[in-house]
């Protein structure tokens, strides 16, 4: 897929995010907007997946886990646009009886969600387990996991970070949505994360960095990481992103981590995002 096509998809995903969160007046737009480019590139270009024949066991395809489950609007939009379920279902986000729960779950039968997330710090461990299962099955596919940067404050992350290199889990590519913001403020103020690159390298990971809202850079780095898998080490990508990317008044602040825009703000946001694929 061309970079231009990926960017067009990402723009529509951003519209979907604004409309979903506005529609139910709840959810997490900031992080969703920031991580859109990376996950769009994964689902539409870099992962070997078959949405039409979705299997819970992920056998014979790449697997993706969203550890920071609160940015679910982004994932739901991308999955719908990729064909996992009808785009029209995005209108049910966070409403009673929906398969699109506030945080992702397999329990409502939504194709493409394999495990629940929302309570932070757990996705890396799940991904390590799934990656080891692929090794046991002789399945030469990869496991991807996206984590938040604030989530790095959870101790369990570092249990998994220690395990994966120690046991040679090299079919795993973990990505940190490094927007340097969390609910209470900047990560520097809440809990200085220090040198994440050095920390992961010290734990034994190969670490890459990319500009997470530059589609060309995202695709190039993901491709590089794919090509460098199966060489004895897990890989970590620090994706430098901007929370709220694409909507001017949502950028440069942590205010939109978990707040919904009102009618006027939503209209303003949507005026900044071209409808490229048709709204749901």
């Amino acid at each position: 897929m061309t970079i231009n096509e990926l960017e067009r998809i990402a723009t529509q995903v951003r519209r979907d995010i604004i409309r979903m969160v506005h529609g139910c007046q709840s959810g997490h737009p900031g992080g969703s907007l920031g991580a859109t480019d990376v996950v769009t590139a994964l689902y539409f270009d870099q992962m070997d997946i078959d949405p039409a024949h979705y299997r819970m066991d992920g056998e014979g395809e790449d697997m993706f886990f969203l550890s920071n489950g609160h940015i679910s609007p982004m994932l739901y939009s991308i999955m719908a646009r990729r064909g996992y379920f009808p785009v029209s279902e995005l209108a049910t986000f966070r409403r009673l009886g929906t398969r699109l729960q506030g945080h992702p779950t397999p329990m409502e039968g939504l194709p493409g969600i394999r495990i629940a997330s929302g309570s932070l710090g757990q996705g890396l461990s799940v991904a390590v387990g799934a990656a080891q299962a692929k090794k046991l099955n002789g399945d030469q596919h990869l496991v991807f996991v996206l984590m938040g940067d604030g989530e790095q404050e959870e101790g369990q992350i570092w249990e998994a970070a220690m395990y994966a290199p120690a046991k040679g889990v090299d079919n795993l590519i973990a990505i940190i949505d490094y927007n340097k913001k969390q609910i209470d403020g900047s990560t520097d103020d809440v809990m200085n994360l220090g040198d994440l690159r050095a920390k992961y390298e010290a734990f034994g990971w190969n670490v890459l960095e990319l500009s997470g809202n530059n589609m060309q850079a995202v695709v190039n780095t993901l491709k590089f990481a794919r090509e460098n898998a199966f060489q004895g080490k897990p890989q970590l990508i620090l994706a430098h992103t901007e929370m709220g990317m694409g909507v001017d008044f949502m950028m440069g602040t942590h205010k939109w981590h978990g707040s919904a825009p009102n009618d006027e703000q939503a209209a303003n946001a949507l005026s900044q995002l071209t409808e490229t694929l048709g709204d749901y």
């Binding site: 819970m56 066991d57 992920g58 056998e59 697997m63 886990f65 779950t105 397999p106 329990m107 394999r114 495990i115 629940a116 997330s117 929302g118 309570s119 710090g121 757990q122 461990s125 799940v126 991904a127 390590v128 387990g129 799934a130 990656a131 080891q132 299962a133 692929k134 046991l136 099955n137 101790g155 369990q156 249990e159 998994a160 220690m162 395990y163 120690a166 046991k167």
Partner: protein, 317 residues
């Protein structure tokens, strides 16, 4: 029924043998252990199936979620550590990724209760049944001796869904038949009687067996039912017995809040209220000591069951 002690064995060794057997029967059975391979008796499995055994180090949260991740691909993971670290320490991991996500993970929990002994209260968890039975989708199994723990482990491997399997450290009388099939959710009638029903689980099943002849001498004909599956509870068996005996004693190595007695009390209150006494730990933490000393100290011994029966039978009259 005749109760014959075949030998004295620890239930954790029953788990170890059951795991090995389950692994031989099904190549999808895998095992994780957080640095307690010897204590959990998982060494034979690790030796025979080195590729299917995962040493996680002392990192229980990571272990539970890795097991959930591996279960996605059709594997049947067992996680092994002490009951204290299998539940309270990893409650959120079990809740989100095992129970809520309904993954086929078997949580093997050893050294439960006060019979862990000298290590004391930090390790003697008495709240684990309460924690686990509160979770939707979770099955809670508490076998009573070596043979039954082995059979329960094999049954857990064959069952599709999350299972919490609780067993212990000390050597105790091994009296259930070798290779008796274990049916999850089916109460086990050990002794028919007419005057009182004793519902017991785990190590206290044998203590209840010891109480039977003492009660008989007093003229009390007790029915004994082993509730090896706390959840789902065999409600039918409970009500059938109570209809006949009209009074109940429960016996468990667990807090009285949230354990077996609590489950039985709910069934009685909702369906067929009758007098009930509970032999359980009374809202206190454990202590260091030998297993036998601790069972006496916390009133979980045979004489305590006898006293509870006398009391409840008197209340009935």
């Amino acid at each position: 029924m005749e109760f014959t002690i075949q030998n004295q064995k620890d239930t954790r060794s029953g788990f170890g043998e059951g795991l090995l057997e389950a692994g031989r029967r099904n190549p999808k059975v895998v095992a994780f252990c957080a640095d307690l391979t010897g204590s959990l008796k998982m060494g034979d499995f690790a030796k025979e199936f080195p590729n299917r055994f995962f040493q996680t180090g002392i990192a229980e949260a990571n272990m539970i979620d890795m097991a959930a991740g591996m279960a996605l691909s059709g594997f049947v993971p067992f996680t092994g550590t002490f009951a204290a670290f299998s539940t309270g320490r990893v409650y959120d991991q079990i809740r989100q990724c095992v129970a809520y996500s309904n993954k086929n993970v078997k949580i093997a929990a050893s050294h439960a209760g006060v019979t862990l002994g000298e290590d004391g209260a930090t390790h003697q968890i008495l709240e684990d049944i309460a924690l686990m039975k509160a979770l939707p989708n979770m099955t809670v199994v508490v076998p009573c001796d070596f043979n039954q723990t082995k059979a329960a482990t094999i049954a857990a491997a064959e069952y599709d869904g999350p299972v919490y399997l609780r067993f212990g450290r000390p050597k105790v009388p091994n009296f259930t038949p070798v290779d008796e099939k274990f049916e999850i959710g089916k109460a086990q009638l050990l002794q028919e009687g007419a005057d009182v029903t004793i519902f017991a689980c785990g190590h206290l099943v044998w203590k209840a067996v010891e109480a039977l002849p003492i009660l008989k001498e007093m003229g009390i004909n007790a029915e004994l039912i082993n509730i090896h599956t706390i959840k789902p509870l065999d409600v039918e068996a409970v009500l059938k017995s109570v209809k006949k005996t009209r009074c109940v004693v429960t016996a468990e190595e667990h807090q009285r809040y949230g354990g077996l007695g609590d489950s039985i009390a709910q069934v009685l209150a909702l369906n067929d209220p009758c007098p009930m006494e509970m032999v359980a730990v009374d809202d206190v933490f454990g202590q260091s000591g030998t297993p036998d000393e601790l069972l006496k100290f916390f009133h979980l011994d045979t004489p305590d069951i006898v006293e509870a029966v006398k009391k409840v039978v008197a209340r009935k009259q």
